[in-house]
């Protein structure tokens, strides 16, 4: 469980957070910070009906799980440009001309127009993109409404960030595990860099583990903050995670460092896997990864012998040409070393025994097989679609009690690129209505030119947001969303954990801002199916989910910081694994039956292009911001005012650029403008491009450049043609694409 303690921690100086003296005008509420997707348990201080301060939790389990993004959230939610009322487009799409309407008017017209699209093109002509960590109270209700309507075309950023990892993990051992930081002895970070302004609970858990002697291995081309602290840092070539894992397995197999008993009793496909691993002698792995053979071997030995070890989730492995193979190889490392479902290893938590999970709320069983078969992308890239996960239905039911177990919301998704192509008129059928909820779609996936074309080809676009994002600027209706301080919330990491944490409403939402729960309730009613979302309020909905516990949400939130079921280890001894074979599938029957190589493999980069001599990695989050959000908050812009690309001094000299200079970064797809930061931590030849930049203070509207998104957003650079897509999932290769830097002739934009 996150926050469960290792019982022999180093006792160090304890600095208590400074707190204001008790103020009779100040009340406090327990809330979960929604400034990123990790949901820290924090405290909201409320004065005169407003949240004025976000501070660290009073409970020792969550103490100091807080960062600057949470601290400045009250300012962000009070921004003068926050969308407070429903807006309807009155000019051309993207013209920036709006009129204020009521919720009733908006939902009435949305319902009529959506029904027209469905009548004309079928229910699959409606696509939705949601960011659950932003909307908070979606809770699978969007999928529920879509399933009743008949559309399988739901997409999310989790297609290339954790959701896809969940779907692939299940192919190996039937669940997506959570690492047991509190009891582990060795932590392996594949490019992930949790720090004091990003994913703080994980940063803190790693620091606590290190303090009690756990080892840290970091694999990162850049000498990151975590690399500086590591016992072993392997500066691998960007995008070579799969090759590195093959190297580790080669050492582990050749030296007999694996758990022979577990492999014999609980895995299938070992001999075939070993033959594949033998294709990767260390000299080849060294050539593919750019790391020294002795370092690769040392890391492999440390992982296998210093355990139990963990390889926590990383967005880096998620976003590579060999993502499926690399994720599978990480699952295989966990399995063959005996680290699955053991203390200090990777826990298969399953469902909470008493709380209704989002998997049940989604009601995937009501969507017909014929409609499931229409899910976009499932023909060529099925891994996380209904088709790709179908073979796991019976095993999921057998082991976890549900045919549809949707972890991290990522296990039954349409493919984003295929969805955008269909929206643009280049798919197997038209998609003509698009909803984006808490999701800045235009900037959140690869190939912005395609997404822009797709959005301009829609009959109806509905957006729920806080700010007029570039995506919202293209909508027909923009509806005001509430914030995490303004609503109750119940969180289980989107089906990843069996631990639930509550968040109390701390203030009323401003203007006419409403929750995404309310949005879906109104949408169901507008589609003449109010019975699909029958709960009168969010609280009543939570009461229903908690009914088995015998208490309502208010009492639950007042009583618990978290609620967890009984913890059991090695549950597979009685249930087997939730795979078709009941064992860990080193050779995947699911992938084989889908027509793919059942063993991991490594697909090398296309031949170098002399016109694009540098290599870039994109999708990088900065500590001040989460994804495409936060640029409107003055405190954050003061810290990070401009989009900065990182290059080494050597690369800067070779391209004749200097620190602070504005340049173009170009790929075969597009071009963005960024400011150069020369960093000692960067290797030569690599360009680090930050994710999701736009400038809310600049002019809105398509002609004006969508608040600078067309100038700065990294999705302008990210290709999604076959050479740059993972085969099984169809997600883009964001870590290691060719690019070039071109000097600007004019001054900064």
């Amino acid at each position: 469980m996150p926050g469960s303690p290792f019982l022999a921690p180093a006792i160090r100086l304890f600095k208590r957070l400074e707190r204001k003296p008790a103020d009779p005008d100040t009340s406090t509420r327990k809330v979960l910070c929604g400034s990123c997707d990790i949901a820290c348990s924090v405290v909201a201080e409320v004065r005169r009906g407003r949240v004025t301060r976000i501070r660290s939790s009073d409970n020792p389990l969550f103490k100091d799980n807080i960062c600057i993004k949470g601290v400045v959230a009250p300012k962000g939610f009070a921004h003068p440009d926050r969308i407070l009322y429903p807006m309807k487009r009155v000019g051309e799409r993207g013209s920036g001309q709006w009129t204020r309407v009521s919720w009733d008017e908006a939902m009435g017209e949305i319902g009529e127009r959506l029904k027209r699209v469905i009548a004309g093109h079928g229910p699959e002509a409606w696509a939705v993109s949601t960011s659950q960590w932003n909307t908070g109270t979606d809770h699978g209700l969007g999928r529920r409404v879509m399933n009743h309507v008949g559309s399988p075309n739901w997409i999310s950023g989790v297609a290339l960030c954790a959701g896809n990892t969940a779907a692939i993990n299940r192919m190996s051992y039937g669940w997506y595990p959570w690492p047991d930081y509190d009891n582990t002895r060795c932590i392996v970070l594949f490019g992930h860099n949790p720090k004091r302004d990003s994913w703080v609970p994980i940063h803190n858990a790693i620091e606590r583990a290190r303090a009690r002697g756990a080892r840290l291995i970091v694999l990162d081309p850049r000498r990151s903050e975590k690399a500086e602290l590591a016992d072993l840092w392997l500066p691998l070539k960007v995008g070579s995670d799969a090759a590195m894992c093959f190297g580790w397995l080669k050492v582990i197999f050749d030296e007999g460092l694996y758990d022979r008993r577990f492999v014999a009793d609980w895995t299938v496909g070992f001999d075939a896997l070993r033959a594949r691993v033998d294709e990767f002698p260390l000299d080849r792995v060294a050539q593919l990864t750019g790391c020294r053979e002795e370092d690769i071997a040392r890391a492999a030995r440390m992982y296998a012998t210093q355990g139990p070890s963990i390889i926590p989730w990383t967005p880096i492995t998620d976003q590579q040409r060999n993502s499926t193979s690399a994720i599978r190889l990480q699952t295989i490392l966990r399995a063959v070393c005996g680290y699955v479902d053991v203390p200090g290893g990777e826990a298969l938590q399953g469902f909470h025994p008493s709380i209704v999970p989002e998997s049940d709320i989604e009601m995937h069983e009501v969507l017909s097989e014929a409609q499931k078969a229409k899910q976009l992308g499932s023909d060529r890239h099925p891994a996380f679609t209904y088709r790709g996960q179908a073979a796991l239905g019976e095993p999921m039911k057998r082991v976890w009690g549900r045919t549809y177990a949707n972890q991290v919301t990522g296990c039954y998704m349409a493919n984003p690129t295929a969805t955008f192509r269909a929206m643009a008129g280049d798919g197997p059928y038209p998609v003509k209505a698009f909803f984006a909820l808490g999701n800045n779609t235009l900037l959140s996936y690869a190939n912005m030119p395609l997404i822009l074309k797709a959005m301009l080809n829609q009959d109806l676009i509905v957006v729920q947001e806080h700010m007029m994002t570039p995506t919202a600027q293209l909508a027909d209706f923009v509806l005001p969303g509430d914030a995490w301080t303004e609503r109750p919330w119940l969180w289980d990491a989107y089906g990843w954990l069996s631990v639930y944490r509550p968040s109390q409403q701390a203030m009323e939402p401003p203007g006419e801002c409403r929750s995404t729960f309310e949005f879906w309730k109104l949408t169901a009613a507008a589609l003449d199916m109010p019975e699909v979302v029958p709960w009168a309020s969010l609280n009543e909905f939570y009461d229903w989910r908690l009914a088995k516990l015998g208490i309502g949400f208010d009492e639950f939130a007042a009583t618990y910081e978290l609620h967890a079921g009984k913890r059991e280890w090695k549950k597979y001894l009685t249930t087997g694994f939730a795979t078709p074979s009941g064992k860990v599938e080193l050779e995947s029957s699911v992938l084989r039956d889908l027509g793919f190589d059942p063993l991991p493999y490594f697909r090398e980069d296309p031949a170098p292009d002399p016109d694009y001599p540098l290599t870039m990695f994109t999708g990088v989050r900065e500590g001040e911001y989460f994804q495409t959000g936060g640029r409107h908050i003055p405190e954050m812009r003061e810290r990070k005012p401009e989009p900065n690309l990182f290059v080494s001094a050597g690369t800067a000299a070779a391209t004749q650029i200097v620190d602070g200079e504005w340049v173009h970064v170009e790929t075969m797809l597009g071009r963005v403008t960024m400011q150069v930061k020369v960093q000692d931590s960067m290797p030569d030849g690599l360009v680090r491009v930050p994710h999701g930049w736009w400038k809310p203070e600049t002019a809105q509207g398509l002609v004006e450049g969508l608040s600078s998104a067309l100038v700065h957003a990294d999705s302008m650079l990210c290709r999604d043609d076959d050479d740059y897509l993972d085969r099984e999932q169809g997600i883009p290769h964001l870590k290691g694409a060719p690019c070039r830097i071109v000097k600007l002739t004019a001054d900064a934009p």
Binding site: L61, V71, D182, T559, A564
Partner: protein
């Protein structure tokens, strides 16, 4: 099960029990578990000074900001 694994399991189970009880505001055992956790989990995390010393916002300041915008970016 070897001795090391048995120890890890026992410690994990005890830690898990403490976490469950210490995260609940119920009876005296819950409060005691919370106290034990407070002792066990003492740690000097490297919070930013801006975070450690934050005092929050004045409600009037937020009100003014919301109404007019005071950051000069508008």
């Amino acid at each position: 099960m070897n001795r090391g694994e048995w120890q890890r399991r026992a410690m994990a189970a005890l830690g898990y029990w403490l976490a469950r009880r210490g995260s609940r505001q119920g009876n005296v055992i819950d409060r005691l578990a919370c106290r034990v956790l407070e002792r066990l989990l003492r740690f000097d995390f490297d919070l930013e000074d801006r975070v450690r010393h934050d005092r929050g916002y004045d409600p009037d300041e937020l009100e003014r900001y919301q109404r007019a915008g005071s950051d000069g970016r508008k």
